[in-house]
Structure formats: structure tokens, C-alpha cells
Symmetry: C2
Subunit: 370 residues, 2 copies
DNA sequence: ATTCCATATTCAAACGTTTGAATCTCTTGA
DNA sequence: TCAAGAGATTCAAACGTTTGAATATGGAAT
């Protein structure tokens, strides 16, 4: 196994300028000792390194130094528009400490998830940030990662009872915010599409909506409550919304607004209602959740509950680095929880309901025609 | 620097079951020599490894073996919906050979791009796939990566004249396809929004549209041709589309269809026309390019030109692995080019133009009211 | 008995770094 | 003249693995 020709090591540089490997290493890695290396030597070594095209070998380096400036970021599915802003936040948080994210995308597949998990362990990432999925039981994840003393933070789910620092949006508040927005506009007959049963966001959002309904003195008609099936594909919310919109119309029950579980679902609802000739928001208001790109660029723009995803990502990065540092100093194993405040983003998919009489007339016409 | 407690090495296993490190390594790495290790020994070692929670150290391993089963994937901006399907394709192509993608997102920032590039070199990725950006001059990228003998493939741009294997959609054919679709529907007065000047896709798409116009005997009104400004943010196409839609209407020139540079631009156009009270597609057809998620879930769904992104990603992965293998065998430095065939996806943003008289009447009413 | 082969296992060097300790060469102060 | 320190550089071991070569063990064939 002869050395590759194009491959420059410390030894090459050392020989080229007549110093030892140690000196070269000290200079190029800017170790504390480099303070008392002669300035001329430093310059000579640096310029030789540049000239030969030297790049330190991360493998050799971190084999020796046990550090690799890497935080693993394990996303359950990058194609969910939800993930990207979080990743950007993480990158922003890691950058200043010159840590690098090792980004892996499990594509909602258990098999991939496991193999990437193994990879994270093998690459000795110093910490891990998991962007949560409802699909996997993270139990063995915890065992395996924690056993190896890697600090871990989870985004999008509360796992504090398993002693994992967690960040997520305050879903209860968000659900309430969305419902209250519709109530404030004057809507009384509000259809609700709940999330999939296995998704942890579902319950608190529903609870928030119920609380807001009670506060506004509005009764939720259980026949106007739907629940998305368990999904594999993050865009399948769209199909669910489309499906339930048709079902709502076919049921003949009147409603003037729909509270959808997330933005894709809301977009599906818009599609379904539009197909039947309803205009959004004149004939029916629709509100989503998350504030992902498709909601912003659709026409009408979807009124939604924004999650401060980027901020959450940023914070998760900071927590991880913090845990790293405190681990080096003492054993500070405190577990944090941050429930981010959701924010109402009003666009054009919501409006005051049409006057009751007119609305009823239109509706009946439509139901007949569908 | 004492060893971390939770950290299990070959030596630990060797001691625990009374064999040498070599034997343990041979067994666990399934080296050829493991053929003649006693079956009982094998089992004992394997179960001990599992019991202790052993994970091989990728750093030590690849320091010695010079392989790390990693292909770097450098995306210019993951938040462009364009990138994700490519990444998925790459993952799919790497998986069967148990190579792992090292995914990095330059977020359209030169500084990040450089620092990630350095990282790729330091981590000794065996190959690199670049999802192209118009922002960066890839010249030094080439120098730096090629000097280190790392095979490199670029997706989304033709760099064959710099001897880099390239995959991209056939933009010329796509532009023609889009224009011909509108012409076939009967449109004659077609507005065109060209891409930013610095983007390499712009020219061929425009050329394709011109060719199709000539073939259909349609004259393109230069006053209905617009050009997006150079952009930093991939979603800024939306703003551009919105802006030009308003400008088109204000100009008073009549048109029945808009050919937008990409899907986000098309969505911006839809927004702009809708604001003025126009209905899509009854009053005006709009066609996009790329087929990204927001185009599919908007209402009406945007008719667009689909790029086979996933297939392109898959192929890029295969090329890279192939280059890796052939490099080990002989010096096969052949450069490939693949122009993927685009595909028309008809949704609901395009339709036959309204009869001429009626269209003109509507238009003039609108222009007055705006 | 000796030689030879196959099977099972170990030796020891190497990969490219980092780093605590060691060495060497000057100054400086007494 | 010597000790003490500071400044500049090097030694050598270590990180955890892989791997070509070497060794040990037991037959079987000569």
C-alpha cells in the first residue's frame, strides 16, 4: 500500500523545509506551543504547506485528539419542509464554534435510521441532534447513543421524561391561537382535521383548540371532526385534507371554516373545496399550522401558525455545544425543555364568514351540484 | 488522556475473551482470513462484541485502510426544493454499495461553501457530488478536489468542457415543451419570464421557447418578455413573478398565457394575476418549470416541466462509484454527460384561451380597474 | 522420524496526527 | 564561571485499526 502521489502529509512538509513533524504539526494546528516557534519558521512552514496543497487528515487528527468538531444531525425526513429551517438554525448555531453538522436523512425509513445511527456512533460525532419522527421508538437510540456518552438533543418532541433535552413548539397554545383566530373573525361552525393518532403533536393541538372553543363559547360539532390516518410520507397530509374536504361537503353539514392539522393538509382542503366551486376565503376560511414554504407561495396564501423553527434549531445547537463543554468540565447532566411560542401568520385564506343567510344558500346549491 | 469509560475497543474484546487484537479484528471486519478462524472463536468474539456494545472506530479504521465509504454531497442550497429529490436519488444510488452520503448545505454562501469544501478534503471523502449553483466559480473547487484525486460529478450544470462529468435536464427541450403546450392549447399571445442572467439554465430554456414559437408560427412580443434579476434566495423567484405579473397587467398589453422560468416564479405570477381578479386558467394560463412540491399542492396545480431529479441523483451516484472502482483498476478518466429528458406535467393552471372577443373585453375591464 | 500442508492464531508495523516530556542553545544575572 | 531560565525544536508514545508475515499445533504422507 504505497502512499498516493497527490497526498501530502506533515512528514512531507517537515522534510521539505527541514524541520521535524512535531514542529510542523504545532505550527499548522496552532497549538499553544506555537507561541514560541520562531516567526520565520512559522512562515516558512505555512507557505510550504500552502504550496504543497496540504490538508490535515481529519481521521488521523481525531484518532489522536479525540475531537472532530462534528455534531450529527439526524432528520427523520428532509423532504418535509418542516426540517429545513431547523437545519439552517442548527448550522447557524454551530458555525461560530466552527463545529460542523453531519447531516443525515432517514427518509422515514427504519432501516436507514438504524444504519445512520450506527454511522454516527462510528464516526464518533461529539453530539447528536435528532429532528423527531413519530415513526420510531427512540428507546434504543437513547440506549445506544447515551451509552457512548454523546450528548443528545431532540427537536419536535418532548422526551424530557427520558432525560433528553427537548425543544418543540407549544402545540397547545398554537391550536388555541388558530381556533381563536377563526372565532374572532366570527366563525361558529368550524371543522377540525386532527393529526394522525401516532403523532405526538396531535393531542395538544386538539386540546388547545378545545380550550379556545370553550373560552369563546363555541361547541365543536363532533361530526365535523376528522382525523388523518397514520402517514408515512410527509406530503400525504395533502391527500388527507383533500379527502376530508370532499367528505365534509358530501356530509351536507354546514361549516364556514376549517382548522387543518398542518399546512399541507390545509392546502389539500383548499383544493377539495375549490373543486366544488367554493371560494377561499369568501365561502370558507382555512387555517394551517407550521408555516412551510408551500403555504406562503400558494394563492390565496394560507393563514397559519408559525413555528419558530430556525430559532429552535439554533437553540438546539447551542444546548448541544454547551453540554459538550460542561461534560468536559464537570458532570452537568441537567435536562432542558423549551416550548417555543407559536405565532399567528394571517394571510388570505381566512376572512369573516359571509352573512349567514347567503352562506346557507350557496352551500345548499353546491351540495346539490356535487 | 485516559480512555473514556463507555468506549469499547478491539483490545477490550480481545482481553475479555482471551484472543489477540488481530483475531478479533479479523473476525469483526470479516476479512478474508476469517475463513480459517474456528467457528467457535468467531461466535464467542461476535457475542462479546455485541455484549460490550462495540462499534468500530471509523477514524482508526480508515486511517489504516484508506477507505471510508463516504461520498460528499455538496448542495448549494438545500432549501431550494429542487435539491431534495436529487439528494434522495443519490442516497438510493449509494445505499446498495453501502456508501454513505456526507451531506453539506452551502446555503448559497461562498464562505460556507469554501469551509465545507475544506471539510470534504479533510474527511477524505472518496468522491464528491456537487449540486450546482450559479453563484460560485467552481474553478478552484476543481483544482483543489481534482488535485486530491477525488472523482467528482456535477448535477444541474454542464461542466464537461472542464472535464467534469455532468448531469442536467435538457433545458432547451424543456423550454420548447412548455411553449408548445401553450401553443397547442391555442395561445398566441404568450408572456415569457426568463431566468436570471447569471443562471446557466436561462439561455437554453429561452432558446427552446423561441424554437417552439418559430415552429408554431408564433411571434414572441418582446414587450412581453421579462427577465428575473440575479437572485440570492431560491424563493425570490416568487417575488419576481409577482412583480412582473403586475407589470404585465399595468402595461396594458394583452396576453393569454405566461411561461414562467420556474415553479416559484409561476406561483408568483398566479398570485399577481389573481390579485387583479383574473382567474387561472380561465383568463390566463401559467406554466412553470421543475415540478417542485409547492407547484403540486397549490390550487390550481401548476402545469410544469418535470425534471427527473431523482433519476439524475441516482445516476450521479452510480457514476461516482464507477469512477472510484475504475480508478482503483486503471486510469479511466472518461467524462460523461447526461441530458435528462424533461416531461410535461399537465395540471390545472393551463387551459384553452377564452374566445378572443370575450378575453379582450374582460382584460380591458381589468386594466381599468387596476 | 522427518517433511509438508492445512488450520488457527499472533506479531508487529503502519496509517497521520497530537502532545507531554525532553533536549539543545542562547541570554541574563549573580 | 555557573545556574537559571527562556526560547526553539525534537523525541517518542499514543490513538484503534488493518494486514502481510510469522508462528504454533496437529495430523497425514513420506
Amino acid at each position: 500500500m504505497q502512499r498516493k502521489p497527490g497526498h501530502v502529509t506533515l512528514l512531507d512538509i517537515a522534510r521539505a523545509c527541514g524541520y521535524s513533524v512535531s514542529t510542523v504539526s504545532i505550527v499548522l494546528s496552532e497549538a499553544p506551543l506555537s507561541r514560541n516557534v520562531a516567526a520565520s519558521t512559522r512562515d516558512q512552514i505555512r507557505s510550504m504547506a500552502r504550496q504543497l496543497g496540504y490538508h490535515p487528515d481529519a481521521y488521523a487528527r481525531s484518532l489522536r485528539s479525540r475531537r472532530n468538531q462534528t455534531i450529527a444531525v439526524l432528520a427523520y425526513d428532509l423532504s418535509d419542509p418542516f426540517c429545513l429551517p431547523i437545519v439552517h438554525g442548527i448550522q447557524a448555531g454551530l458555525q461560530p464554534q466552527s463545529y460542523l453538522p453531519l447531516l443525515v436523512d432517514a427518509q422515514t425509513q427504519r432501516k436507514l435510521f438504524d444504519s445512520y445511527l450506527k454511522m454516527i456512533l462510528e464516526r464518533r460525532a461529539e453530539g447528536a441532534i435528532v429532528i423527531a419522527s413519530w415513526i420510531f421508538e427512540e428507546t434504543n437510540l437513547l440506549e445506544d447513543i447515551e451509552k457512548n456518552q454523546v450528548p443528545i438533543v431532540i427537536v419536535g418532541r418532548d422526551l424530557t421524561e427520558k432525560r433528553v433535552s427537548s425543544l418543540l413548539v407549544d402545540n397547545e397554545a398554537g391550536g388555541a391561537l388558530a381556533f381563536r383566530h377563526l372565532a374572532d373573525l366570527g366563525h361558529r361552525r368550524i371543522a377540525i382535521i386532527r393529526g394522525p393518532e401516532e403523532l405526538f403533536d396531535t393531542e395538544p393541538r386538539w386540546a388547545g383548540a378545545q380550550r379556545a372553543a370553550a373560552e369563546a363559547g363555541i361547541a365543536i360539532d363532533s361530526r365535523l371532526v376528522f382525523q388523518l390516518p397514520n402517514l408515512t410520507d410527509p406530503t400525504s397530509g395533502f391527500d388527507g385534507g383533500l379527502h376530508f374536504a370532499r367528505e365534509m361537503l358530501a356530509s351536507g353539514r354546514s361549516f364556514t371554516a376549517v382548522l387543518a392539522f398542518d399546512d399541507l393538509t390545509a392546502l389539500g382542503v383548499v383544493r377539495g373545496l375549490s373543486e366544488a366551486g367554493l371560494r377561499i376565503p369568501e365561502d370558507c376560511s382555512v387555517v394551517g399550522f407550521d408555516d412551510v414554504l408551500p403555504a406562503a407561495v400558494a394563492t390565496p396564501g394560507i393563514t397559519t401558525i408559525r413555528q419558530p423553527l430556525k430559532e429552535m434549531g439554533l437553540l438546539s445547537a447551542e444546548w448541544t455545544l454547551q453540554a459538550l463543554n460542561s461534560r468536559d468540565q464537570q458532570r452537568d447532566k441537567s435536562v432542558h425543555l423549551y416550548k417555543a411560542p407559536p405565532e399567528l401568520v394571517v394571510r388570505n385564506s381566512t376572512a369573516k364568514p359571509a352573512s349567514r343567510r347567503k352562506a346557507r344558500r350557496e352551500k345548499s346549491r353546491l351540495i346539490v351540484s356535487s
